[in-house]
């Protein structure tokens, strides 16, 4: 009797989990399958398989330029966000700053406030500075949007790092910067790298600020996809979507590997 009841619950749990998984993954899988379609329009199931849309993607200057722009934004903005976010996290967690919790909350605002507000604000400011439609403008916008990810991951790692390690380094003769470079930074490295990966993925996916700030000449992948789906759609969009997906998946796997490595570490 008792075993039957549990078995029933297990079956229900299995079914629910299965359905949720299908619900979450089905669109992704369909897009990936369509990207290998031989047909000239979005059709599922595809009548045949080919790589023509990937070939098309890498031969169309509109897409290759967009990918180039995205990478030109992603690398400096993720790097800047990582440096600024790590410094901010260290100051907020370790420094004795009055109002640290308010400053911390303000730093998280860009991922709490609707992106359109940040986008409109940046657009307004950039108009005065002549930064609209420039790579610099896009990079600054992406730094604003992705720094919170770094602040969040690094400050939570820093809270679990024994402050006595830094105290010990100081007593042993290490000035603050040396102590950070030799002790704190290496121990935080997994969190810093995972913040960097989140920032990179967030930058690559970012649409709204990019829509406001980009121009026809400086146009990242997300904006190119947006304008593409509004015009005549062919499976090229599925190919670039699959590449975005692959990029995010790779970042996630790398991040979980890093997390496992720190998990094995002592306290």
């Amino acid at each position: 009797m008792r075993g039957d009841g549990l078995g029933g619950w297990r079956a229900l749990r299995g079914t629910v989990c299965g359905l949720v998984t299908i619900y979450l993954l089905a669109p992704l899988i369909i897009v990936v399958i369509i990207s290998f379609s031989a047909a000239s329009f979005l059709q599922f199931p595809p009548p045949g398989l080919s790589l023509r849309w990937y070939t098309n993607l890498f031969n169309d200057p509109a897409w290759t330029d967009a990918i180039k722009v995205s990478i030109e934004i992603l690398i400096p903005s993720a790097a800047l966000a990582t440096v600024l976010g790590t410094a901010a996290a260290h100051a907020l967690v370790r420094g004795r700053i009055p109002g640290a919790s308010i400053i911390g909350a303000a730093l998280m605002l860009p991922i709490v406030v609707p992106a359109i507000i940040t986008a409109a604000a940046l657009f307004g400011i950039y108009r005065g500075l002549g930064l609209n439609g420039t790579l610099t403008g896009l990079i600054i916008g992406h730094v604003v949007l992705t720094t919170p990810y770094v602040v969040a991951t690094v400050s939570s790692a820093l809270r679990t790092l024994d402050p006595r390690l830094e105290a010990a380094a100081a007593i042993l003769g290490a000035p603050p910067l040396t102590a950070f470079r030799r002790i704190t930074a290496p121990l935080l490295m997994p969190a810093i790298l995972s913040g960097l990966l989140f920032a990179a993925v967030a930058s690559f996916d970012e649409l709204i600020v990019s829509l406001f700030v980009s121009s026809a000449r400086v146009r990242p992948v997300a904006v190119q996809m947006w304008s593409n789906v509004r015009g005549d759609v062919d499976p090229t969009i599925a190919a670039i979507a699959s590449l975005c997906f692959a990029f995010a998946l790779a970042a996630l796997i790398l991040e979980s590997l890093l997390r496992r490595r720190t998990g094995a570490g002592p306290t």
Partner: protein, 366 residues
Amino acid sequence: MTMAGGNRTQPVLELSAVRKTYGGFVAVESVDLTLGSEEFLTFLGPSGSGKTTMLMMVAGLQQPDAGSIRLGGQPVERLPPYRRDIGMVFQHYALFPHMSVRRNVAFPLEMRRIPRAEIGRQVADALQLVGLAEFGDRLPRQLSGGQQQRVALARAMVYRPALLLMDEPLGALDKKLREQMQREIKRVQRERRISVLYVTHDQEEALTMSDRIAVFNRGRIEQIGTPEELYERPATRFVADFLGETNFVPARVLRCEGRRCQVDIAGSSFEASSPRPVAEGAAVVVAVRPERLRLSPASKPGGLTGVLTEIVYLGNARRAVVRLPDGRDCFSLHHAKEAEAIASAPGETVDLSWEAGHATVFPDTP
């Protein structure tokens, strides 16, 4: 002390009127202290008595609100920890988990820009000293608690600091290992001739290791002296109570001349000594250590008597529990050799006595 003595008489550490508050809470009220060269001084006290806060201020990890801290004659209140040149061993070791034992010990030498070959030699020396010569390539997490503590010790003294601070360094170890490490720390201290400031709440540890003990209570030093002075001649009731076990028997002062007092306990007169003059007729307590208390079968009337209620077997000793007429329990401690001589059995009435020098009078306020 003469000024001509130079370095030999220069105290390693001088604290005067050091004070520290957190908001409204006074952690350290006013501490004065001088630590001599090669001296092993222990801060002993209950938790929250200010001993660790005082240590942190010496280390430079906390800033005093008032008072002065001098290291080797130089004021250091404004000096950051990395410029004070002191060593410190933390309770939970604080070894750098991403560095090997060798690199942990080399760290302070690298900070001092000592040539590489010299670092290698000194690190090997320090690891040899703590018996871990073979363990240089291990990571801290691959060592036991006792071994990690030895690494912390090696790292804290490899650069020969003038002063070594230890904050409850053996708190996380079990009893056997703790005793072994106590001897080890003393040996290293003697061999390297360093001054040590040691913080503990374990009075046995303080008694066995220290040249002098400073007993902390509520942000002040209650008494400072050699272990023997503190144990045999406690200056306050708190010290008598905190350091070792003590029987407190209520009494009334009959006469008092200097240290020598005549007190009345339950109608009988006893001799005792008082660290401070007390007024005739004052209500006091008389403190007697259990091992100084003698029991004998009640024979003549008068004297302090009680009922022997229990004899507890302690292996190397016996502990007798005697209930006094006022319902209070007194404990006496007898070495196994003399314990067989206790002629009385539980339930019988016994006389309690002691030598005058072993009874101390304190005012009757805790």
